[in-house]
Symmetry: none
Subunit: 536 residues, 2 copies
Amino acid sequence: MTTDSSHQLWIYDTTLRDGTQREGLSVSIEDKLRIARELDRLGIPFIEGGWPGANPKDVQFFWQLQEEPLTQAEIVAFCSTRRPHVKASEDPMLQAILAAGTRWVTIFGKSWDLHVTEGLKTSLEENLEMISDTIAYLRSSGRRVIYDAEHWFDGYKQNPNYALQTLQTATDAGAEWLVLCDTNGGTLPHEISQIVGDVLKAMPLHTQLGIHTHNDADTAVANALAAVREGASMVQGTINGYGERCGNANLCSLIPNLQLKLGYNCLPKDRITQLTQASRLISEVVNLAPDEHAAFVGRSAFAHKGGIHVSAVERNPLTYEHIQPDKVGNSRRIVISEQAGLSNVIAKARTFGIELDKQNPAAKQILQRLKELESQGYQFEAAEASFDLLMREALGKRQQLFTIHGFQVHCDLVQGRVSYCSNAQATVKLTVNGQNILEAAEGNGPVAALDAALRKALVNFYPQIAEFELTDYKVRILDEYSGTSAKTRVLVECRNNFQRWTTVGVSTNILEASYHAVVEGLEYGLLLHSTPVLSN
Amino acid sequence: MTTDSSHQLWIYDTTLRDGTQREGLSVSIEDKLRIARELDRLGIPFIEGGWPGANPKDVQFFWQLQEEPLTQAEIVAFCSTRRPHVKASEDPMLQAILAAGTRWVTIFGKSWDLHVTEGLKTSLEENLEMISDTIAYLRSSGRRVIYDAEHWFDGYKQNPNYALQTLQTATDAGAEWLVLCDTNGGTLPHEISQIVGDVLKAMPLHTQLGIHTHNDADTAVANALAAVREGASMVQGTINGYGERCGNANLCSLIPNLQLKLGYNCLPKDRITQLTQASRLISEVVNLAPDEHAAFVGRSAFAHKGGIHVSAVERNPLTYEHIQPDKVGNSRRIVISEQAGLSNVIAKARTFGIELDKQNPAAKQILQRLKELESQGYQFEAAEASFDLLMREALGKRQQLFTIHGFQVHCDLVQGRVSYCSNAQATVKLTVNGQNILEAAEGNGPVAALDAALRKALVNFYPQIAEFELTDYKVRILDEYSGTSAKTRVLVECRNNFQRWTTVGVSTNILEASYHAVVEGLEYGLLLHSTPVLSN
């Protein structure tokens, strides 16, 4: 293993663009911003944000980042080369990419002659012109350019000379990186090695190559590794391998392979330990169940079954584990006896600014409660406000602002020939400041009705509640084989004018799960007003 | 691509042994027999059935196969070398493996000196003795032997001379195959290439090597490919990559890579087209949801999104697909999405066996309805049954099996000092075969109650409804800015004994959205019984 500090690799994340092509994955602007900030925090140097010329949602995303920029990462706007036979300066798509206001842009163009003549229906010369004109125009507008050579490997196999001409054209026009894309995803590692080696021989010295692979042959990670070993210095991929068809190269596998096994620098040393958390948080944001068997970051990645094996693992972990799990922020797990560690809780409390001692009975109490709730399906990774409330409770610092005695919800729907008429009502009963209150409200759904009734009941006592907004509401079914009787986990995100917070509720009854999350969301917002902030 | 018929590779399936180590996977003897017969039908030459010395269930499994043998495959019994300091002929574990009555047995032994001294707590010499004595005894009892060299790659890195001695010992004792196992799963492809090459140089000519890899570095498939390219001629893996931690090398990826891309013979030509079906059937038998994004066999593996792209794919598939999907028994799928054009609708209809003409007013009607529903937040990518119903409707082929007039749902929760009591009831009103029915039911959540009431109302008319199961229920909030008033999209997956189907519902009221999806799920299941199948 080498640890030569000159082994710098540039990680380029495309979760927000290519990752969102995954069937069944859809994200809001808020989701995209949250993911971008998480990737920034993780120390990813390049984050591809989207294609502002093709998607109005992406236009707004880039605007919002102009107002509140990322701290370290370069946010990159993505776009194709200009259309055939128009000037780059007159193509509205390129105006949109300039309006995104990023320092870096990625332009993708055709490498495969067949895609030029059959897909674009233009000449091979015009394609070179499109690459050159587009990149030169963006350079003259002050942008730095990464060039994605689409369908590179298939194109090179069919017509290597033309494929190389497209790269040379991009370099001559001012592209600083040439990224070889295996767009159809079927290339095997030995072919990648061969072709990347060929390209480096054919191109001028100091050409910077990148690699972008897909998992259609189930070798996306190995393909990227093969390219890096030949000399590629930028690696494109997505968190959790999200992407069209079989997905993109998974950065959660690539980064530890490159950094911990091959000695390249990808992320700052203190950040790679946050990889597992980032993987799980992002899977929550996009509302997909995390892959428990994922390499490095999956819940089962370092799971050991009980017995002699376990004590052997504990005596000498490296004889049974390919890396130490904490190097990527994951943990060893003994499958039979679920042993969540006290040190985990203490580390977690520290992230909320609370110093707990191992001897403090509150620490044990938090751990026990945590295990109890997790076995019921609670999950606090994306619901830190609920975890904060749990800690306050154990430490005797959870102020009782109101007591709820119960609720009722009623819904009905009359189906006519053309239209429906549906209606939801909720009633809540609670005590605030010694006063008993019964309040009812309507809503266009049962959860909205419940939320409205709670607010009506509380607003006279806590007028600041009028400022809270419920900004997101996510539902996940935990044991999907039980169908509609399955357990439901609800995440509710609220905000006031200053911050956002997320709470969680679990039940077989979706309304009960929602109720718990909504109530904690309101409670936490009120506590933020009345006591020092513990989390954000 | 070579198709030299001398390129014979031996596929060795260990789904029934190593695959069942996957956390959350458990199988009965019946399940194991069903899987073994499916693998036999697929043409897999070696099927590892289990460890009869360690597991009474496996003893019985082998007995049952003696009574009703497989047609072509060799069923293999698995066992460790004998214990230290006993004779092989007196080790009851080896008696159990002989009693399994297989022609072939696989014996695993230690390659890594540290595992001998620390794990087995015996001497390096005794470990060699254990390998030699065990294999020689089994050979003298008429068995053919495959030797699995456990922890091979890590062991070789630490002490190559000793590791090679273990292999030489196994060969000398009569093992016909030496299988190099990456037990901890962290080795990278270039290391595999290097070490397999070293071994072939060090061992006698005509030594037959096998490769057994795990996916802890997310490179299991590439690792096996690297070994084969160096000269290994047996490949061990599991269907769907099932296995401990991050799983084993996935045979559903390896077989097509080896056979269709590298030209090796693995399965008979007419069998590889059954790979997708085998993958899905086995996932059903082990009761795990299929990975929709799996390479080659996943439902999304050949999915294409909208517009110009689709007509380009149909004109010239190999410019957008790394292999033809039907070569592995999968199919191209046109994803019905926001950008759907008329050509998409027509292509999609074709996959349901319906030929639509561009001039057919039904085609335009379907497209219009699709766009209308999509703008309301419907999404048919994952809800093909709902799309099928929509097409039937436009074509006048949607049979009216029942008419629902409305529903009512009531939920209440009383919050006590310690526990909650929550309750959900639903009432539905419908007409079936001219009869008006009012039916009520309870459930542990409002959707379960609604589902139960609908089934109670329908089961007397359509008894087959008792066979349907709701297997998955997914909820997504669409416009999160509206918080709990947001639009909700619900996907419901049902199955009967033969197939699965998914339906969708959208509303601001989560109960109404669920209701629509559940009703369409029941309707579609009934139509599958009463009319020719349009989709699967």
